[in-house]
């Protein structure tokens, strides 16, 4: 029932952490821990990240519109996004403070996914075939919330009436969150990233997205969704280094009730986005045999 793919990719990440850090001196405990892609102190990537400070804030200024005085989700740097292969195994359960404190590196409680029969069948098939049919392997956009589970960095720009996410990878795309109070269209045409509207609840950015097509997977392990997918994301910059991402998945065609995953992106000061054009030479396709 468990995804073998995830099992040994996680194992591989542990090995990878060792390979990646060689010949740097690494404490055994750190090297043995699976690399969730979150970076952080003592790890290879992000080892020089300064200690976390308070959440940076935008000034009070009417020109900043809805973002006036709100947390600054940007700055000179970028967000390093974790590689969440399996939301069950790598996401934190809502309210699991221990998991939050370790930025998701200690998963004592797997996320329970309320599969219906169709979703279970889809997921099991993905497991059996080692996720060879994952749309992201075909260089299609990861979708939502998977843009924050695909390990290419992102930057967030706050304008007076909208928030813009720019994603280096997955598919080098952007996402616009309208913050001007508009509603979703009554019957949106389906798209990869859907129709997103947002608002601030205190210091948390809440993004409500519908209008998806059914051509993405929620993660590499193969949690499916259809066009009825409704995602609510809550973004909180809890300190200068940390962006907490809480995603609630609702899709009555695949899940018996809504379910929530919490993950974390980490701030990489001074880093810039680079070019990544996945479809340039995707020769992997002819070799994706599955089993």
């Amino acid at each position: 029932m468990r995804s073998h793919l995830t099992g040994w990719i996680l194992a591989g990440m542990a090995a990878l952490a060792i390979v990646a850090l060689t010949p740097l001196p690494v404490a055994g405990q750190q090297a043995a821990q699976p690399d969730t892609g979150l970076g952080g102190p003592g790890r290879g990537r992000g080892a020089n990240r300064p200690p976390a400070g308070p959440t940076p804030r935008l000034p009070e200024n009417p020109l900043l519109g809805v973002n006036s005085g709100k947390p600054d989700l940007g700055g000179k740097g970028m967000w390093t996004v974790p590689y969440i292969i399996d939301m069950q195994k790598q996401g934190c359960v809502l309210g699991d403070q221990k998991c939050y404190d370790s930025l998701g590196r200690q998963h004592t409680t797997p996320v329970e996914v309320p599969f219906n029969a169709a979703a279970r069948k889809f997921f099991d098939h993905a497991t059996e075939t080692n996720s060879k049919d994952d749309p992201e392997g075909f260089c299609l956009p990861p979708g939502v919330p998977r843009m924050m589970y695909t390990p290419y960095p992102t930057q967030i720009y706050q304008l007076a009436d909208r928030i813009l996410f720019i994603y280096e990878g997955g598919a080098h795309v952007w996402r616009l969150i309208w913050m001007d109070g508009r509603k979703h269209p009554a019957d949106p045409n389906p798209t990869f990233l859907g129709d997103a509207i947002g608002h601030w609840e205190g210091d948390t950015l809440v993004v409500d997205t519908v209008g998806f097509n059914d051509r993405t997977w929620l993660d590499a392990a193969g949690h499916p969704h259809g066009e009825k997918l409704h995602v609510i994301e809550k973004y909180t910059r809890s300190d200068s280094n940390t962006l907490r991402v809480e995603a609630t998945i609702d899709d009555p065609d695949f899940y018996t009730k809504p379910w929530t995953d919490v993950t974390f992106a980490t701030w990489s000061p001074g880093q810039e986005l680079l070019e990544y054009i996945c479809q340039e030479n995707n020769r992997d396709l002819q070799h994706l045999v599955g089993k």
């Binding site: 060792i18 390093t80 080692n130």
Partner: protein
């Protein structure tokens, strides 16, 4: 025909499946088929979604096979300080990695060592995060 490559039992190594960011490792590569090959680089492709290099490997009978190896993406490699000139045609290298499941002369590179022992593209299939 005994090829100049070592099949190492996976159990003797850390069960390693490199993290690839845009497609499933397990759907393409076999972590039971470890490779360790020595040969001469013939071509380097600095391309998305994965940089690749090709290496001529001679077996004991003198037959030469041109192997293709997949690295990380150029953006991820650049963040680790590598450039398109880190590896050049003519370099004699030893590469370790895993062979493609379809049995072709394709591998996912894990380590690449130059003849003088310097390692290039170490950790190259990591996930594109910032370098240390």
């Amino acid at each position: 025909m005994k090829k100049k490559l070592s099949w190492i039992a996976a159990g003797l190594l850390v069960a390693a499946a490199p993290a690839l960011a845009h497609h499933s490792f397990a759907a393409e590569y076999d972590n039971n088929k470890s490779l360790k090959l020595t040969g001469t680089v013939t071509k380097v492709e600095w391309q998305n979604p994965h940089a690749r290099f090709y290496v001529d490997v001679k077996d004991d009978s003198g037959k030469v096979t041109n192997w293709e190896f997949e690295l990380g993406s150029p953006n991820g490699l650049m963040r680790r300080g590598w450039t398109r000139n880190s590896l050049k045609p003519g370099d004699v290298i030893t590469v370790t990695g895993y062979q493609a499941k379809d049995g072709t002369s394709l591998g996912n590179a894990r380590t690449v060592s130059l003849a003088d022992g310097r390692k290039v593209f170490a950790g190259s299939t990591d996930d594109g995060g910032p370098t240390q």
